[in-house]
Amino acid sequence: MKNSLVQIRNLSFKYDENADYALKDVTFDIYEGEWLAIVGHNGSGKSTMAKLLNGLNFPKEGSITVDGLLLSEETVWDIRDKIGMVFQNPDNQFVGTTVQDDVAFGLENHGIEREEMIKRVHNALESVKMEQFLDQEPHHLSGGQKQRVAIAGVLALRPNIIVLDEATSMLDPRGREEVLETIRQLKASQEMTVISITHDLEEAAKADRMIVMNKGQLYREGSPEDIFQLDEELISLGLDIPFPVKMSKMLKGLNIPVSKHHLSEEELVEELWTSHLKM
């Protein structure tokens, strides 16, 4: 599975000549079929990263290669076909006046034929469970529903990578869970690569791999286990420690045997159960 799909090399970017670097010398790979979580404090450069990836801005220095294509003015449209993006504010990415028009928007841009479009719009809406809402207008939908429509709009174009830039941060817990569950199912059924930019550490803990950004630089890269070993350091990075890790630490402090800092409650419960059986 460790097949590198995107290579990001020594990437730097400034919004303005006189401004500080929004990104500085960032290098990492994205692997096929993985769920990569990108975390970091407000203003650490996560959204900037996402926009560069999709050619919405061009890097000052460094390069991005997506599926063998080096990102440049010439290849940018081909690369955008491969990468679908869902942004934070559900309102500001809804282009169409109804659900189906919005999903069709991307297809229209790509000059897909009408018959094919209708099929794809319906399929995409079905896979995010919004097929009941074809003619709804956006202001009658909840935030979670709008985001699922946005995902459908991206899916209809059949990308191999989907980038979520805090796509759930404006939603309530249920909307958030709906959206994440949708993505999880899609990832499993369509072998997509997911890049999720998030402030929700419980969500990041479930990713295959994590990247921690700090002040425009890549601070650490690794599995959630590795990253959450950073412990107190995370707090100084503007982050926090997920509950199961905190709990594991707390229990260790009380001399209750816990082998490691668990990332999921299930694991921790499991260990407590088996170790107490052995006692």
Binding site: R80, M85, F87, V95, T97, F105, L107, G111, I112, R114
Partner: protein, 265 residues
């Protein structure tokens, strides 16, 4: 007050008018605007009123809602009416009170012109109330299609319009939110001295402008990310269908026109 506005609002329902092709509705409204000027006496104006009310009834939009929403327009109409009463000095005097005189011609013109104005507003309101904004845009784009050959940016115009329409409810909501947020900080929008009320516009407009700008920027980014690069090579998802009703409605308007021409003086 904002809540009762009917401009640009679409009331979904299942009526003959709702089911019409937006193109025929647009053509009818456009023709109606010309036809209105044919009328010049009681019979012809009467026919126009009957026609318009018939359309309104067929649209199944609640009357109370329509007339409630036109309150502001009524003020304008009354104003127009009074202007004519005061300014037209032709024909016999029919009413006199000191220096204030009402001339027959003034009254006649006052009534007819306000009525004309009112009918135009009403018929356009019926259009917007019964047609989804996107359908209006599609209709326009299709009607203006021939202009593309003259390098007229029909597609861009239509897209701009549909986005503007799409964002009207969002911006109304935003306005409401900012007004509330500033009211909570002690701004009075609806009471207090006039000077203060005018000043109260600034804390409303600046945030509204900033946020609209931000929205526009984010929307443009989202559109670009989804592969938008102008009208060339784009296909259409929506298809307009012209049916028998549309032809029939056009004929009805034609009949009205003929009637007006016959009975005008």
């Amino acid at each position: 007050m904002m809540e009762k506005m009917i401009f640009g609002r679409y009331v979904p329902a299942d009526s003959v008018i709702h089911r019409m092709d937006p193109r025929s509705k647009l053509i009818i409204v456009l023709l109606f605007v010309c036809v209105v000027f044919i009328a010049n006496n009681a019979i012809t104006y009467g026919a126009l009123v009957v026609y318009t009310l018939l359309m309104l009834a067929m649209s199944k939009v609640p009357m109370r809602f329509v007339f409630g929403g036109l309150k502001l327009v009524f003020i304008l109409i009354i104003f127009t009416f009074l202007m004519h009463i005061f300014l037209t000095r032709e024909g016999p005097i029919i009413f006199e009170l000191g220096w204030f005189k009402v001339y027959e011609e003034g009254l006649r013109q006052g009534i007819f012109i306000s009525l004309r104005f009112f009918l135009l507003i009403l018929i356009t309101s019926i259009l917007t109330l019964t047609t989804a904004p996107i359908a209006i845009t599609d209709g326009l784009e299709s009607l203006l299609g021939p202009l593309k050959k003259l390098k007229f940016p029909v597609h861009e115009l239509a897209l701009m319009m549909s986005i503007a329409l799409r964002f009207i409810p969002t911006l109304m909501e935003e306005t409401d939110k900012i007004m509330k947020a500033q009211s909570a900080r002690g701004v009075e929008f609806s009471s207090g001295p006039v000077k203060d009320r005018v000043m109260a516009i600034i804390p409303l407009l600046i945030p509204l402008f900033v946020s609209s700008f931000k929205r526009a920027e984010e929307l443009a980014t989202a559109m670009e990310a989804r592969g938008y690069r102008g009208g060339d090579g784009r296909t259409r998802y929506r298809k307009l269908v012209w049916s028998g009703i549309d032809t029939l409605m056009l004929l009805l308007l034609l009949a009205l026109t003929i009637l007006l021409i016959i009975f005008r003086t």
